[in-house]
């Protein structure tokens, strides 16, 4: 299976998965930090519960989208928490999902439809 196949097999991503990938795109975070980040990013619209988060995390680790950080980079981090970071594969999948969504929006625009109500 080529990388491309492996990527497109996972698309479309469940919203929670996509948000977790976005949240980890630039930074390593622990679980609760992810929940908070997603909540901020979506202006409170998506508030994941602990169960939803770790169910997604477990699957994403299995799929190779994210991995647990074995060694902390900063002493400021809370030692007792488990941190996650995005993998190269996870970045590729997130990008592919962005492309898919952008294309979808383009297609919608081409029909003359606008998000604003007239």
């Amino acid at each position: 299976m080529t990388d491309h196949d492996a990527v497109s097999e996972l698309l479309p991503l469940p919203p929670a998965t996509f948000h977790i990938l976005l949240s980890l795109a630039n930074d390593e975070r622990h679980g609760y930090a992810i929940i908070q980040d997603v909540e901020e990013r979506t202006a409170g619209e998506l508030r994941m519960s602990a169960g939803t988060l770790y169910r997604s995390v477990a699957r994403m680790v299995e799929q190779g989208l994210i991995s647990e950080v074995i060694r902390r980079r900063s002493v400021a981090d809370d030692e007792r928490r488990r941190y996650y970071r995005i993998t190269a594969f996870g970045t590729a999948v997130a990008r592919a999902e962005m492309r898919r969504l952008a294309q979808l929006v383009r297609l919608a625009r081409a029909t003359g439809l606008t998000p604003e109500t007239a």
Partner: protein, 858 residues
């Protein structure tokens, strides 16, 4: 509090997930619910955990299924073997138990069927089964009046009648029923009403006849049909499930008994049905009847001295052989299920050993025990489901094949269908075995450290598992011997039955039945005229060598007996003690059936009414009454007339190849005078060589030319009738042989699997032995010797059980002794051969083990 509540809820997650994420979950939950009220927190906890835990379980199931598919795809041979095995075991069992339940257990279609009892006459001493001899009206009347443990006695009889007027004239099976019978049975009619008074001229028709002959006419009630020349008004239609007294009965007419019907206690043509009074048991009622019949014997010694009774419940109408064969088949299919279980267990044990290492690796990589157990469970259940589905297919095919083991004498409707409970039971059995033995590799993992398993490599398992496998194979051998021996006994019995000479030539003989309406059969001149016209017309057809009418074709009409009085003997011989078979025939009867005249002459056209009455007797008849004299010219009496013997013919098997036949007496149809019922000649037999069957339409035209209203039935070849005599046996044999063949195959697979595995496990040891100079043939002998050891261990109990089983079912074996050494030895040899064959490939592989590779591969 909220934390411990959340922790408790977390138990809903799989243990593996909990082990990984529990602390994180608790912390994230605490963080996100900080500051919330207790109720809100509890609510959030439930809302968070319940759906997510469920989804995690589903996710794992999905993964396990995917993994199981991959694992199964890797070992396709194993999967196919297991599925086929399960399918055979489950299918064969479901099918046999469905049929057995239908025949032996299912309640009959009457309200409170267990209180229904049937009564017939029978011999004073000894018994049989079902209705032995019918009751005379007088005996019925007296019994009904004198018994206290049975209420509502009703009488009925069987007749056949010509149904004319609606389309083709047809011959129907009917029952005459007393007014008590329908109310006693308690089944409501579908249309109209039942017969509840002795009123002549009415008829109730069965659902089947209503559909097939009257097109389901909803206005049938009130219409008039013609039965044997007399008009009858249809008063009711019975529902489709109603079968009484047997499955063949198509309509019912009132039984009307008048004063003179009670005169002769020897004229027996009735059966009785009743219900046990509340609180009375079947045995109490039987004891009651003993007293009644003893009293009748005292009161009417001339007729009742030898008269006993047969008293039974409707289900016991079927012969003991039918019951035995069904029980034997149940036993056989149970044995097969056992075999399936043993083989399945063995296969899974072998696979378990092969997977020890795989699982140890997964455990070492961090898979928890719970995850591995789940994985194995998923695989086991998946296999069981696949096998069960295939088993369902097998059962669906097998049930109709087994359906003709259902005896026609039972009053139950239609065909047995697949029994869901039987299917469920068999599937559960295989699933439990599949899952149970599927878990063995994981239990082994618990017992030893993963490290040992890794170090041991593929050789794991240990002595106890090997002993278990050996024991399982021994059980397989034993079961195979039992099944093989049972089939072998049946095969030998069939050969013996088929070798019985019927005494007449059935090849190339066409037979058909033209039952005359009573108005014609009662008039001897019109009756004889009809026979002569038909025979003359038939003989004019091309290819006909001989043709005759008879009151009964051998093996079709098996009864029809009379008693003989020899002048000078002290008292007339009772028909019940020394009966002879009694037939009215036309002159070419013997020529048509190829029965040679041994002495004297056969009948001639000149033997007519008004001439001296003559008779042809069989050799055993002559031997019984004139053992030391010349029988030709002797006279004897029967049914009130005196006959002179003019010829002697060999005996024939009137009652079929497996039963004892009475000596035979033939008299001329042309000299019959007033006769009725059974004795009116109605069967036309025509010898026409190879063209017999193609003659049928020509014969129909001849009969139509004489009487357009004469029904013609039972057209066929006499050889087919003979063939049908052994049809039951052949059906039984096919079923049992199929089971035995499957058993043998399974045993072969089992032995092969065990030894192949043994060789694979011990390849290192074998390699070392070979390297140290052991001779290859010694190694091969070790493998074959192991096979022989298992065959002997299993064979001995196998022979013992086979002997016991054969004794229990000896009624099926037509005199073949259950200990017959040739049969038993043959089976043991066959199983030995299969064992040997199963060990060949593993032995060959063992010899070819390369010492270098065997040692290096570790």
């Amino acid at each position: 509090m909220s934390r411990s509540f959340y922790r408790a809820l977390l138990r809903l997650y799989p243990a593996s997930f909990r082990a990984e994420y529990e602390p994180e979950l608790v912390r994230a939950f605490e963080d996100s619910t900080r500051g919330a009220g207790r109720v809100a927190t509890a609510f959030a906890a439930v809302h968070d955990v319940v759906p997510n835990a469920l989804l995690v379980h589903l996710e794992i199931l999905r993964q396990d299924l995917k993994y199981a598919m991959r694992a199964m795809n890797r070992s396709r041979g194993f999967v196919v073997t297991v599925v086929l095995l399960t399918a055979l075991g489950v299918g064969a069992n479901t099918a046999t138990f469905s049929v057995a339940d239908f025949v032996l257990l299912r309640p009959l279609p009457f309200p409170d069927p267990n209180s229904i009892v049937r009564l017939c006459e029978g011999p004073r001493e000894g018994g049989g089964y079902g209705c032995m001899n019918e009751l005379s009206p007088a005996n019925y009347r007296d019994v009904a009046a004198m018994t206290t443990r049975v209420r509502g006695w009703g009488a009925f009889g069987g007749i056949e009648a010509n149904l004319v007027g609606f389309g083709e004239p047809i011959r129907v099976s009917a029952a005459t029923v007393g007014p008590e019978v329908f109310p006693l049975l308690g089944v409501r009619p579908l249309l109209g009403k039942v017969i509840d008074r002795a009123e002549d001229g009415s008829v109730v028709i069965g659902y089947g006849l209503w559909q097939s002959h009257f097109g389901g006419d909803p206005d049938i009630v009130g219409k008039t049909i013609r039965l044997d020349d007399s008009p009858r008004v249809v008063i009711g239609v019975m529902p489709s499930g109603f079968r009484f007294p047997d499955r063949g009965t198509q309509l019912w007419i009132p039984l009307i008994l008048r004063g003179d019907d009670y005169a002769d206690r020897n004229n027996t043509y009735l059966q009785a049905v009743g219900r046990l009074t509340p609180g009375s048991s079947f045995d109490q009622a039987r004891a009651d009847l003993e007293v009644v019949f003893s009293r009748l014997a005292r009161d009417h010694p001339a007729t009742n001295a030898e008269t006993g009774f047969s008293f039974f419940q409707p289900r016991d109408q079927m012969g003991p052989r039918n019951r035995v064969i069904l029980l034997a088949l149940c036993g056989a299919s149970l044995a097969l299920l056992l075999l399936t279980g043993a083989n399945l267990a063995n296969l899974l044990l072998v696979r378990a050993a092969a997977r020890d290492r795989e699982l140890a690796v997964r455990a070492a990589l961090g898979a928890g025990r719970e995850r591995l157990v789940r994985q194995m469970l998923t695989e086991g259940l998946l296999l069981a489901l696949l096998g069960g589905a295939a088993g369902l297919l097998v059962a669906m095919i097998a049930v109709p094949l087994l359906a003709h083991l259902v005896p026609t004498a039972l009053p139950i409707e239609g065909q047995p269908s697949l029994d869901g409970r039987a299917l469920l039971l068999a599937m559960t059995f295989t699933a439990v075995i599949g899952v149970g033995f599927g878990l063995i590799p994981v239990t082994a993992l618990g017992g030893r450290s993963g490290f040992t398993a890794l170090r041991d490599g593929g050789r794991g398992g240990g002595g106890s598992r090997r002993r278990l496998r050996g024991a399982l194979v021994a059980v397989e051998v034993a079961v195979s011997v039992v099944l093989l021996a049972s089939s072998a006994f049946l095969i030998r019995a069939l050969w013996k039955v088929q070798a019985v000479d019927p005494g007449f030539a059935s090849e190339g003989v066409l037979m058909l039945r033209t039952t005359l309406a009573p108005s014609r059969s009662a008039d001897s001149v019109r009756r004889l005229q009809f026979y002569e016209q038909v025979l003359a017309g038939v003989k004019a057809l091309p290819g006909v060598q001989a043709a005759a009418y008879t009151s009964g074709v051998p093996m079709v009409l098996t009864g029809g007996v009379t008693g003989i009085e020899i002048s000078g003997a002290e008292r007339p011989t009772d028909v019940r003690r020394n009966p002879v078979s009694f037939r009215f025939v036309t002159p070419e009867f013997f020529a048509t059936l190829g029965i040679p005249i041994r002495r004297g002459r056969g009948f001639e056209a000149a033997d007519r009414l008004g001439r001296p009455l003559v008779a042809v007797i069989s050799e055993s008849f002559a031997k019984r009454y004139w053992p030391n004299d010349e029988p030709i010219g002797k006279t004897f009496g029967t049914r009130g007339r005196q006959y002179a013997v003019i010829g002697i013919v060999p005996d024939i098997k009137v009652r079929g190849p497996e039963r004892t036949s009475e000596p035979q007496l033939y008299v001329a149809a042309a000299q019959a005078g007033a006769i009725g019922g059974l004795y009116v000649p109605k069967d036309l037999i025509i010898r026409a060589g190879g063209r017999a069957l193609s003659l049928a339409s020509g014969v129909r035209d001849v009969i139509r030319g004489i009487d357009t209203e004469q029904p013609i039935s039972d057209v066929g070849l006499l050889s087919d009738v003979i063939e049908r005599q052994t049809a039951d046996r052949r059906a039984q044999l096919r079923v049992l042989s199929a089971l035995a063949a499957v058993a043998l195959l399974l045993t072969g697979i089992g032995i092969h699997g065990l030894l192949a595995f043994m060789v694979a496990q011990r390849s290192r040891e074998i390699g070392v032995r070979l390297a140290l100079g052991a001779k290859p043939n010694r190694v091969a002998r070790m493998i074959v010797g192991e096979a022989a050891r298992l065959a002997v261990i299993g064979g001995i109990p196998g022979v013992i059980v086979a002997y016991a089983a054969a004794r229990a079912t000896s009624s099926l074996f037509f005199g073949i002794p259950p200990g017959d050494p040739v049969t038993l030895a043959g089976c043991v040899v066959l199983v030995m051969l299969v064992t040997f064959a199963g060990s060949l490939v593993p032995a060959f592989r063992a010899v070819r083990v390369s010492p270098l590779e065997a040692i290096r591969s570790e």
